[in-house]
């Protein structure tokens, strides 16, 4: 395979196209092989799906396209389709004697690039090369557009920043932009170079792979604990995956064929087929196969991710979060992934896990503006890898629903104790669903954010107003159990959406975005918890600034389980991890997790926040832009 798609591969293209045929019917195998041979393709046949997968894995770049039957004894053709999409990102054509519309639809949903009816004619086979060609072209375009997007984002962000004029000075913006550009370039270069080897690092994340990813993130969360120093009785650690870097995740995952870019993308890119639903305010990046439920979440998550990536970039220029689009994120959104999430959440006993993402995010933003001053928002703002690493907010995703009510409660209570005025209600994200955090992104992001920000930069807990969807979790810690945001699938629609929208408009720069959360702006609100929530939310929200807050929040929140004590809103580490695991959409959540405001006083928060925010904002610039772009692009968030 060539890098990028030089057109055409060889003069003979499509002759020599390497096709893998998978079918349990020996008669068809013989016929198809002969037909493809006549088309001058290079055919390999397989009777069993497992064999086919093994073959594909052994020869990573050994095939250009796969043709597979739908009904096979050892494995469902759709499943194979998914796997291939996830692992190898090769075009797959499905075949069946059954041409029922629902089947065909299923095929397409699972990512098939075509669906042929048996008996297959040779004419149909002659044209299969177009799928290979198309994919190549799209890959190239993707890289290019990514750059473009970032540029646009940056610009946008920059403008916004100026408008708000609060946190960023023009100069900063420019420098941010520049930095971003540089990073983008770097990243892109990396992308390209990587793509040459891994086909543009397009990896489709299977449930298994995602699980590994989640595990890795969790592990990182465990190891790197950002503590909010200071008053918090219990440090809230936010692990900002972005900060830690996809590299680490990659190493932990121990998947040889995966690249850092893949991880970066995974952090950022939501499944393509995620459909926005009202519920999915917070887009959660589900592991492949998951029914895309929450697009909006997704976009949020995406943004968050982007944000994180930006942050990361700042820290590690090499990090490539390039938002490689996960184009192959199959729409399949198998319940498995949900389960994954769910199970993850289960571990987290604390509801505190971030659902706050959203909340925090918002809150932070708002408060940032007004209240956050250098203070020790540390945790909160620091989330951004920016210059001052604040505590990484651990975006733990509070154990969604599962554990949750108690933990959530705990969190809320803690929050309450911390910030009496905080409107927890709003903060309580709808953590309702177990999924909440589908966490993929959030955690990751939180990690990133988690800069050693210690202290609680909590962003004020999302003020009740904004409720980021928190509904069911109301009782739960206000920190947004919104993790439910993520996945929530079931529970309620993640309201983050609205939040987000508000957020968007507000645009971080300080306060505005936080709208709902914004911590209601009381100084109180800036609890770490809130902060986290905010940050979490923020991250997802496009607002870069928010993210910061969010992140900060996360930072402040330590991954402690949120016991009922107010000081630890910090979602437990697990939560955070969970959060991150949640992946895509979760970014938001993560931030929230950190709501450990513990002793963070309002004033502290306030003071700190601004600083952090600023940083965050700066970092966010890029991110925001990107996010914004994404959001817009995705059109999800505001569904």
């Amino acid at each position: 395979m060539e890098n990028g798609f030089s057109y055409p591969r060889t003069d003979a293209f499509p002759a020599g196209l390497r096709v893998l045929v998978v079918d349990d019917d020996p008669t068809w195998i013989k016929i198809l092989a002969r037909m493809l041979e006549k088309c001058s393709y290079r055919v390999t046949t397989c009777c069993l799906a497992r064999d086919a997968l093994n073959m594909l894995r052994e020869r990573k770049d050994g095939f250009d396209i796969i043709i597979s039957d739908v009904n096979m004894p050892d494995m469902d053709g759709f499943k194979l389709l998914e796997q291939v999409g996830l692992e190898m990102d090769l075009p797959v054509i499905m075949m069946s004697v059954d041409g029922e519309r629902s089947r065909v639809m299923k095929g397409v949903q699972h990512g098939a690039c075509d669906y042929l009816l048996k008996p297959v004619r040779m004419k149909e086979l002659q044209n299969i090369w177009q799928h290979v060609f198309r994919k190549k072209i799209l890959e190239v375009k993707d890289i290019e557009s990514q750059e473009g997007i970032e540029d646009i984002q940056m610009m946008k962000y920059g403008l916004d920043e100026f408008d708000n004029g609060q946190l960023l000075s023009g100069g900063d913006m420019f420098s941010v932009k520049k930095r971003r550009d540089m990073e983008n370039k770097e990243h892109d270069d990396q992308e390209f170079s990587d793509s040459s080897t891994v086909k543009k690092a397009r990896v489709v994340w299977s449930v298994d792979l995602h699980q590994k990813f989640v595990n890795a993130v969790n592990q990182i969360g465990f190891d790197s604990d950002c503590h909010l120093d200071n008053a918090c009785t219990e440090p809230i650690s936010v692990i900002f995956l972005a900060e830690i870097g996809p590299k680490k995740i990659l190493d932990l995952m121990n998947v040889p064929w995966l690249t850092r870019e893949n991880i970066a993308s995974h952090l950022q890119c939501p499944p393509e087929d995620i459909e926005p639903t009202a519920e999915s305010q917070i887009a959660v990046m589900h592991p492949p196969g998951r029914q895309p439920k929450t697009v909006s979440l997704f976009s949020f998550g995406k943004k968050y991710r982007l944000y994180l990536s930006r942050l990361q970039k700042q820290n590690e220029p090499k990090t490539s979060f390039a938002g490689i689009k996960q184009s192959d994120f199959s729409s399949k959104d198998p319940p498995g992934s949900f389960d994954l999430q769910r199970s993850i959440t289960m571990h987290q006993n604390n509801a505190a896990n971030i659902n706050f993402g959203y909340c925090g995010h918002k809150i932070l933003v708002q408060d940032m503006d007004s209240q956050i001053h250098e203070g020790d928002l540390k945790g909160i703002v620091s989330a951004l890898p920016i210059a001052e690493p604040k505590k990484a907010l651990m975006g733990e995703i509070p154990d969604p629903q599962k554990t949750s009510s108690s933990s959530r409660m705990g969190l809320t209570e803690s929050l309450r104790s911390l910030v009496p005025d905080v409107n927890y209600a709003s903060f309580e994200c709808t953590f309702s669903k177990q999924h909440c955090w589908s966490g993929e992104v959030p955690v990751m992001q939180l990690k990133q954010l988690k800069q050693e920000h210690d202290g609680n930069t909590h962003l004020p807990l999302p003020s009740p107003r904004h409720h980021i969807q928190m509904d069911p979790l109301q009782s739960a810690p206000s920190i947004c159990p919104r993790t439910s945001i993520m996945e929530r699938g079931k529970s309620g629609p993640i309201e983050i959406k609205p939040f987000y929208t508000e957020y968007r408009s507000n645009h971080v720069t300080s306060k505005s975005p936080v709208d709902s959360f914004s911590v209601q702006a009381d100084s109180h609100i800036i609890n770490s918890q809130d902060f986290e929530a905010i940050s979490t939310f923020r991250s997802s929200m496009k607002n870069h600034g928010l993210n910061q807050n969010f992140i900060n929040n996360s930072e402040s929140v330590q991954p402690n389980s949120i016991p009922g004590n107010g000081s630890n809103l910090v979602p437990s580490h697990e939560d955070l991890e969970f959060f991150s695991l949640q992946g895509y959409g979760y970014t938001e959540n993560i931030g929230l997790q950190n709501i450990e405001f513990s002793d963070y006083t309002d004033s502290e928060l306030i003071t700190e926040l601004p600083g952090h925010l600023y940083n965050g904002l700066r970092l966010n610039c890029d991110y925001l832009d990107l996010i914004e772009y994404l959001t817009v692009d995705q059109g999800l968030f505001i569904t």
């Binding site: 349990d24 019917d25 020996p26 008669t27 068809w28 013989k30 016929i31 002969r34 037909m35 006549k38 039957d69 009904n71 069946s96 004697v97 059954d98 048996k118 008996p119 004619r121 040779m122």
Partner: protein, 150 residues
């Protein structure tokens, strides 16, 4: 068509197979895949089909003896059978398979039994005809390939 008497006979037989609906266009596709490098391709494919489908028929017969009938399983078998028969263009066999599947969907045990009898009947009938056809083709010798090449 020029050629020997045998070839003409062969052509006649072939035509009637199509006319009577035993074979459909897929068979022609197979013929097109036959060339000098693969002179007996069609026959090879048909042989493969019959080998595989015989095994399937056995499975279905066994499944039909169970009480109660496992319609899902039967449906799956038929799906395979249908796919296979479509490969050689065995139109009538394929139709009977569809019938059988309908009975499975309806949970009609009686219907399944009857329908499967039809499947077997068509399956056997086609086999006989094709065997005769290939025999003729072989007898017609090289001339056959020449006249059939497209």
């Amino acid at each position: 068509m020029e050629g020997s008497h045998l070839q003409r006979q062969m052509a006649c037989m072939r035509k009637s197979l199509f006319d009577q609906g035993f074979l459909d266009e897929q068979f022609i596709q197979l013929e097109e895949l036959q060339d000098d490098a693969n002179p007996n391709f069609v026959e090879e494919v048909v042989t493969l089909f019959y080998r595989d489908s015989t095994r399937l028929i056995l499975n279905v017969d066994q499944a039909l003896e169970k009480v109660p009938l496992d319609f899902t399983k039967l449906d799956n078998y038929m799906h395979q059978f249908k796919g296979s028969s479509s490969s050689i263009g065995a139109a009538k066999v394929k139709n009977e398979c569809t019938q059988f599947k309908e009975c499975c969907k309806a949970g009609n045990a009686e219907g399944c039994m009857r329908s499967f009898q039809q499947v077997k009947k068509e399956h056997a009938a086609l086999r006989k005809k094709l065997e005769a056809y290939f025999q003729l083709a072989r007898q017609a010798g090289t001339g056959e390939t020449a006249s059939r090449s497209k």
